[in-house]
Amino acid sequence: MTPLAQAQHFVRAPDWTWYIVPYFFLAGLAGGSYVIATLLRLWGDRRDEPAARLGYYAAFLAFLPCPILLTLDLTQPLRFWHMLWNTTPDDAGPNFKSWSPMSVGSWALVTFGLFVTVSFLEALARDRGWEARWLRPLDGALGRAWIVVGAVLGLFIAGYTGVLLAVSNQPVWSDTWALGGLFLASGLAGSAALLALLVRRRPAARASGGMLELSERLWSLLELALLVVFALTLVPDGTLDDAFGFPWILLWLVAFAGLLPGLARLMTARLAVTSEGAVVAQPAVASAVTYWLVLLGVLALRAAVVLSAQL
């Protein structure tokens, strides 16, 4: 396509709406929480273990509704397994199309489900002090390898939903390559906010509050950068108004509102100077309301992207 030529869209909308928006939201939180939990366990210190376990709990609980939402969205829900198994007569067998994000995503979701469930049970067993034999292999290098692979899958689950939208011919979605990154950054920021809320309710995990707070700010900055890229990529195809026009601008405002507190704290922490002239590394503590706003923003971002191209 020649630069600045407007894209022609003559497609129909797939009606991916009320099941898909919460799925995208929860997939972001499940993947992001698993990643944070793994970072805390592998690169944190002993104080971070309680927060890591909280992360695995959150990932599992956020993951649970995902397959249900996806199945309910199908117009033939009982055929959900056709995603994995081709039932074409004379051509029956496993289904995997590397070029179809929905096909790759189906396999990734099933695999991630295994990782997230084992990590949840492992965290629960350790918290409850259960002496389970199956836990022993997860103590050493195998356990570390397990959560690293799970975290890679978590990163994929949090971001592939954006690629799935882009691999279409729909206005807005197909006019950009930034959605995968945008959803991932937003999922990470939302997961940090979710865990920051949860650690407040578990005294033993509060030592990780600083990491979660700072990471939420950094990931919000990454999300903002990708939002700008997303908007810029829509300009040549003339679909900026479709995505950001009324009424979607209201959702975007909520998404921005979720970003702003974290970004503001990032700026003020950088700019604050002590009487000795040193930059203050210790940021101000965010309130619970701020984190709820971040989560609302993560949901609003997905709703704006998904709905603006279809309704």
Partner: protein, 279 residues
Amino acid sequence: MTEIVPGQAYGFFTDTSVCIGCKACEVACKQWNMLAGHEPTFGDGYDNTGSLDEQNWRYVQFIDNVPDETMGTGQGKAWLMMSDVCKHCQHASCMDVCPTGAIIRTEFDTVYIQPDVCNGCRDCIAACPYGVIGVDEHTNVAQKCTLCYDRLQGGMEPACAKACPTDSIQFGPLQELQARADQRLADLHAQGVTEANLYGRDTAVYGGLNAFFLLMDKPEAYKLPNAANAVLPGRNNPGGYLAGLVTAVLGVLGGLIALRRRGQPPPQERSHDTEAVEP
């Protein structure tokens, strides 16, 4: 009549220059395929079908080009009429994205949705650049023109081509249709109808269309993407995943930076932090 042989490519050549907008194709299609159709809508034109979808596998477009000023030269070009249909693309976007393998290329080189395999994920609807596919509310699966797969298997030409009174819709072996279309285009150009053009005859649009058209205006006028815009959904796979990968690397890096630079927990929280947990 043409003998229909499995293993040979078949298609439609729709010559819009002789379409009279009678909609016999729409009726024949619905009758043969037992499509209930939608309630008709009545606007200020002759179009009460609306669009191609799960019920309308043929759709006669009436494109109003009537000028505001008094008619003079150009009379006869006031309306563009075209019987639109699934294009049975060689590079089919719907088939590319379908995660279940429900969309297949048949022994007649047509694109077919297997109703017993489709699970209604609707990825094909998001991908089809022609807005052809819809989900039927009775069968709950994605539906579109089958190029009368069942009739072909029985050695019969598709219902719409059979019913078309002006031969605007022609069915046959693809190579034969292409040769016929080339001749028709040459005749029209020789008669001074220079705006006539073939859409989907060559590989410029989705690798070639088994249902291709002779148009009397630019493709965009008929709501057909031109060659520059006829792009496959998969084009966004590399960019999309690359953006995700770069974000993943930056995200993990951000997490590690946060772990190193988090400082001490706030004093009021540190006082509660007494529980030691074994890793």
